[in-house]
């Protein structure tokens, strides 16, 4: 067992408890049991792996994600508020570069929140996307998201 992973997870769950109880100190009895229980369940469901995610990669991804979701919100908001609807919806097919598993799931969910894209399905290595405006540079956006996920999960060989 990876001792560092256990310490990190215990601290994270304890922090979550502290936040959920709004910092009150009178419930740490229940809290301790809950944290232990959460730790055991997390170790069973997702055992620690040797490759931990990259912290700088995660930060980089978070910044990318935040700025893009603001951009996406503004874009859709302008579309909805304009008196005449101006959109060019289309279905696109994209080739996935990421390996199956965690990374792909992450990409799909990220794309759903990024400007202009919603995933409608996946067949083999082909991702089907619905884009709200096909005049946008969807492919480069997707590649940017991909490269950041690769860096965060340390998938580059």
């Amino acid at each position: 067992m990876n001792a560092i992973a256990i310490v990190i997870r215990t601290l994270s769950f304890a922090l979550a408890w502290w936040v959920l109880t709004e910092g009150r100190g009178d419930s740490w009895g229940v809290g301790a049991v809950t944290v232990m229980f959460a730790l055991v369940v997390s170790l069973v469901l997702s055992p620690p792996v040797r490759k931990r995610i990259s912290l700088t990669g995660a930060l980089n991804f978070a910044i990318f994600f935040l700025s893009k979701s603001i951009q996406g919100g503004i874009q859709v908001a302008f579309m909805a508020l304009r008196p005449r609807l101006d959109m060019a919806p289309a279905l696109l097919e994209m080739q996935l570069a990421l390996p199956p598993g965690k990374a792909r799931v992450m990409l799909i969910y990220t794309l759903n929140l990024l400007p202009g894209t919603v995933c409608v399905g996946i067949e083999g290595d082909t991702l089907h996307l619905h884009v709200i405006d096909s005049r946008m540079h969807i492919e480069s956006e997707m590649r940017m998201a991909e490269s950041r996920i690769v860096r965060m999960l340390r998938l580059e060989t």
């Binding site: 502290w18 936040v19 959920l20 109880t21 709004e22 910092g23 979701s69 603001i70 996406g72 919100g73 503004i74 874009q75 859709v76 908001a77 302008f78 579309m79 909805a80 508020l81 005449r84 609807l85 101006d86 959109m87 060019a88 919806p89 289309a90 279905l91 799909i108 969910y109 990220t110 759903n112 929140l113 400007p115 202009g116 919603v118 995933c119 409608v120 399905g121 089907h128 619905h130 709200i132 096909s134």
Partner: protein, 105 residues
């Protein structure tokens, strides 16, 4: 300083409400289920994020501020999963998206 925070917070709350309005309008005006998903997953989530940030700035304690902010990533994760589930099902059922029926500029 507190005055500045209050103005910042008020601005964030108002901006958040604006995105909520856009999300609702999008839900009512956009032509098909896919486009409406775009409106909800982008505009409403941003509205909630701004609102939560604005309220967190005024929270009495750090723990409470973090708790309010915690709601945002939870809702984001939830809507990412839900929008994929709904969009995929719609696609499987063969609901065709509305093509470029609006005039090109």
């Amino acid at each position: 300083m507190t005055i500045l925070l209050e103005w910042l917070s008020a601005g964030l709350l108002l901006a958040g409400a604006g995105f909520y309005l856009a999300g609702t309008l999008g839900l009512l005006r956009f032509p098909d289920v896919y486009a409406r998903l775009h409106a909800l997953t982008k505009a409403d989530n941003l509205g909630l994020g701004l609102l939560a940030l604005g309220l967190a700035l005024q929270a009495e304690s750090l723990a409470l501020a973090l708790k309010i902010l915690l709601i945002w990533p939870l809702v984001l994760a939830a809507s990412a999963v839900v929008s994929f589930a709904i969009a995929r099902r719609a696609h499987e059922l063969g609901i065709a998206p509305v093509g470029q029926e609006e005039e090109q500029p």
